[in-house]
Subunit: 221 residues, 2 copies
């Protein structure tokens, strides 16, 4: 499948690399290709992933049959606007971003969230791009767990999906299975992304308590 | 130990009954004893739990060496005020309540939370009763799981505690162990209760997706 990964941070890099490894035709999008490739770690990443083209957001979105939003949550709507509503229309848009507010960050304190349980970033994106088929998933784990759930307890833990369209969720779940996710819970429509995004408030504190981001939750039932 | 359970809802009843079964000297407090015992299910509960006295909030708080807040989250500070700051001073106060806003509830929609990730009910209680030794725990599961974690996957799932005072947390953890909790994660000071309380946003949606409140999360690491 032709997959567009928007965002060149750690999540974008790991997802793009993994999708390419799985045989997909992957392009990774950034606001400013020159500036991104001037970053030493991004340039090094590009060298070892020659199969993944790095391009502008619009070209990348045009490339993808399926689009992944791996941009920073606070900048996601802007980045998707640059990608272009017409290039997202009709496509499954997997939103893995978290609405984190880094503005008040001080040493030892978790960042806060930009949403309450009356809205979510995923719903904001869906409202801004009504023709995109938004599915929220993967935001509840570190990027290293997103792309390789099996390395943690043999994959015996849970991923959530939420979205308004069953077919779009099926496509997202199929991709999750390719990544190695076995236990996927469909929470329902996209308003349930509020639960997924608010879990990040606990995630940040568990990161602090456990001293590692390499964990996940399993829903025991 | 002399334990005061404030609140006569399902959580209060199950906790008081279980603590009594474990050999503690338990009293259960309510705003209006006559009105509570006029409720058929509460009266029936009292009949089969003769070892648990039901009394006014103030008398109950005076009885307890350790106090459990199992009142409705939106009414907790009021109920604790009726219990009396002087009767809570110096005592471990285990807060199991959730700051749920039932005002906007409509069929099929979860209730919303009264807090964001910049505050929590537990911190509000600690600010209102600075001499109480508040520990947040048990709010992340249904009452049936609180008092009997072993019936679910043999107890292989996780409980969280947060509080400002290590000794108070140790007392709470000891009580959790008596209930059967094996995996208890200390998140740190009481501000971490924000993570525990915001998890309820996901819990409510999982309840909807799974069709049962009889589940919990395990932190896989």
């Amino acid at each position: 499948m032709r997959i567009a990964v928007l965002g060149t941070g750690v999540a974008g890099q790991l997802l793009a690399g993994k999708f390419a490894e799985l045989g997909h035709d992957v392009m990774m999008g950034t606001r400013d290709v020159t500036a991104t490739l001037a970053r030493a770690e991004a340039a090094a990443w590009a060298v070892v992933h020659p199969g993944v083209r790095v391009g502008p957001l619009a070209d990348t979105a045009a490339h993808g049959e399926l689009v992944v939003n791996a941009t920073s949550g606070g900048a996601s709507v802007d980045a998707l606007t640059m990608a272009g509503a017409d290039r997202l229309a009709g496509k499954v848009l997997i939103d893995v971003a978290n609405p984190l507010d880094f503005s008040g960050q001080t040493a030892g304190l978790p960042t806060t969230l930009l949403v309450e349980d009356t809205d979510s970033l995923a719903e904001q994106i869906q409202r801004a791009f009504p023709e995109a088929r938004v599915v929220k998933t993967l935001n509840t784990v570190n990027a290293s767990v997103m792309v390789d759930p099996q390395h943690l307890a043999g994959g015996d833990h849970t991923m959530f999906v939420a979205g308004n369209e069953p077919e779009a969720k099926s496509a997202a779940i199929e991709l999750l299975r390719e990544l190695g996710w076995r236990d996927v819970i469909d929470l329902g429509d996209l308003s349930n992304a509020r639960g997924q995004e608010l879990l990040v408030a606990l995630w940040l504190r568990l990161y602090g308590a456990l001293g590692t981001p390499d964990f996940n939750i399993k829903v025991v039932r």
